[in-house]
């Protein structure tokens, strides 16, 4: 009957209950939408990161990550063919791309810029790099002879266009300088402007010839959709012993993503706190007013033999019920709005370090909806604690003075 009393009391003060429901409900709607928006932004950034440079994980020789900047050619993967075969045998692996990256310079006879030269498998790279657009010319696999793809920033820096001739200069593994004359096959644009400003891509054979090695310094692995990344990385670590291979997930390698995600999560946390505080204050005020008017009733309940703890529980149950009802309504409304907004789309300008604008949506997930509901209910309970304690501690005689 106590639950029934709680329901009837909420129904009895209809206007106040509706106002409190609306406050909590809109708080929940806000959390569903903002969290869904943040999740979508981060999901799109994740996809861009994975499908432009990193793949889902990469394999290196031990020590490469720590020493790559100083000397990328020192730590090469010993037997890449064997590692590729083992990786391809893991369920869910879609593509494995070999890469040889090192620093060098690019000149066209009029100017010279420092670049990062990436030797790639054009076919495998095309599978991984679906977020990389060719904005001029053609892809490397359609070009013949020694060819080079330029990041858009590099091309702009030297005023280069497809079919222009350039010279790449790099130090070999032994320390000698070597050059490669190549034709510009095309210009690419990835989601990351910083990368496009320094990157040039050439075929892996040309890169190996330029620096005098026959191996690679990384293998980028792309997984099929819905393949669990962590589990696949664990499987890869199982087949590729750690004394010979260092395997890193995309998240570890994506500094920009991590920084962005941390920023968004911090912002969301602030919003979460604001909404929680708003709900706590609203519920506290509403419950406080309601209890103030019903002091006499609770005095009667206490006089009839119910202990203070029962009064406290009754108030908390009433507030929790209010919070739960508001959470259900908020989730229903929030989900409907999320679907509506997602159907229309939110046109977003290019984020920092990018040339691409994109269309954002509201990404609903069980965890985000559950979090919003939890905040609604928890804040409602927290908001009721102080009024409930005050009421439970009120002397019975004083409470009964307000009975009518």
């Amino acid at each position: 009957m106590l639950l029934s009393i709680a329901v009837r009391n909420l129904a009895r003060q209809r206007t106040r209950t509706l106002l409190t429901l609306a406050t909590i409900g809109f708080g929940v709607v806000g959390l569903v939408l903002v969290r869904g928006f943040v999740d979508d932004v981060l999901w799109q950034l994740r996809q861009a990161t994975i499908h432009s440079q990193l793949g889902h994980f990469q394999v290196f020789a031990p020590g490469y990550i720590e020493g790559a900047r100083r000397d990328p050619l020192t730590h090469l993967i010993a037997e890449p063919a064997d590692a590729i075969a083992k990786l391809r045998a893991i369920p869910g692996v879609e593509a494995v791309a070999r890469r040889l990256s090192f620093s060098g310079s690019l000149s066209n006879g009029h100017g010279q810029v420092a670049v990062v030269i990436e030797g790639i498998d054009p076919a495998s790279e095309a599978q991984i790099g679906t977020a990389v657009r060719i904005v001029a010319g053609v892809a490397l696999d359609r070009a013949s002879g020694a060819s080079v793809m330029l990041g858009e920033g590099v091309a702009q820096e030297l005023g280069l266009h497809p079919d222009d001739t350039v010279t790449l200069l790099a130090a070999t593994r032994d320390g000698a300088l070597n050059t490669l004359d190549a034709t510009v096959a095309g210009v690419f644009r990835s989601p990351f402007k910083d990368y496009d400003a320094i990157a040039v891509r050439i075929k892996l054979d040309d890169a190996q010839a330029l620096v005098g090695v026959d191996s690679v310094n990384s293998l980028a692995v792309l997984l099929r959709a819905d393949t669990p990344v962590a589990r696949t990385i664990a499987a890869a670590r199982h087949v590729l012993p750690p004394n010979r291979y260092d395997i890193r997930g995309w998240r570890e390698l994506a500094d920009f993503y991590q920084g962005t995600a941390a920023l968004y999560h911090r912002e969301f946390l602030v919003l979460l706190l604001i909404v929680s505080l708003m709900v706590v204050l609203s519920v506290s005020n509403s419950i406080g007013m309601s209890l103030h008017e019903r002091r006499g009733e609770f005095g009667t309940v206490r006089a009839l033999g119910y202990p203070p703890s029962t009064v406290f529980r009754e108030v908390i149950a009433e507030s929790a019920l209010l919070g739960a009802s508001a959470a259900v309504l908020g989730i229903a409304l929030g989900s409907a709005l999320a679907m509506l907004i997602s159907a229309v789309g939110i046109s977003m300008p290019p984020p920092p370090n990018s040339e691409f604008g994109y269309v954002a949506a509201i990404r609903l997930s069980v965890s985000s909806v559950a979090l919003a509901a939890l905040v609604g209910v928890a804040a409602s309970i927290v908001g009721a604690i102080q009024p409930a304690r005050r009421l439970a501690r009120m002397p019975i005689v004083e409470a009964l003075r307000h009975a009518s």
Partner: protein
Amino acid sequence: MLICAESVGKTYKLGVQTVTALRAVSLNIDAGAFIALSGPSGSGKSTLLNIIGLIDTPTSGRLLIDGHDVTNRPPEVLAHLRARSIGFVFQTFNLLPVLTAEENVEFPLLQFREFSIRQRRDRVAQLLDLVKLSDHARHRPNQLSGGQRQRVAIARALATGPRIVLADEPTANLDHRTGTRILRLMRRINRMYGTTFIFSTHDPRVIEVADRRVDIEDGAIVRLGVRNGKTWTYAAERTASTPDDLPDELPDELN
């Protein structure tokens, strides 16, 4: 002795002033008594009633119920004692507005796990029949007259089979005729079940129904009266005792 108040005093702060509501009141009440605490407003009769009902605490003296000292017990213990031993009838009825008449009567029984739903329903039906409100069982308080509400309140006070029922000005909000009916009902229950009734009033017509009267003025007992036919015999001793013809124990059907 069912109730024994020994030099019970009550003071409270009102701003910077200390107000004395009761001055060392001593009073003994036997089981089955039907006693009126009378006096003008502010005399301290409601304070004494509240202390006996364990909803207020004395600042001095002690209170014994059934020989057990209940002074300064923790709120949870007092709540347990109230639930088991004491029923309340209030001047303003104090029914819970969201509950029907039968739910109001059932409400105190919800504290007792030993009652099954069936037992609770049977008991509620029995009590509503006793106060002649079986036809109004599903009515909410706002659908009942003042007299009907007070009868529901009496049924609620009896729900747990208490040995003591305290009524604070039970007829003050009722017209004379309805008030008389309510008093007769309480008197009938007192005689049928031996339930001790203690009520506060300043209405001389209500006092006339009582067996004993305790006159209080300025926080002190000034007179103890025992009914002697249509007149009162005032005793020097500050004890009200039980008429011999009333039973000490509750009949089985309410235990």
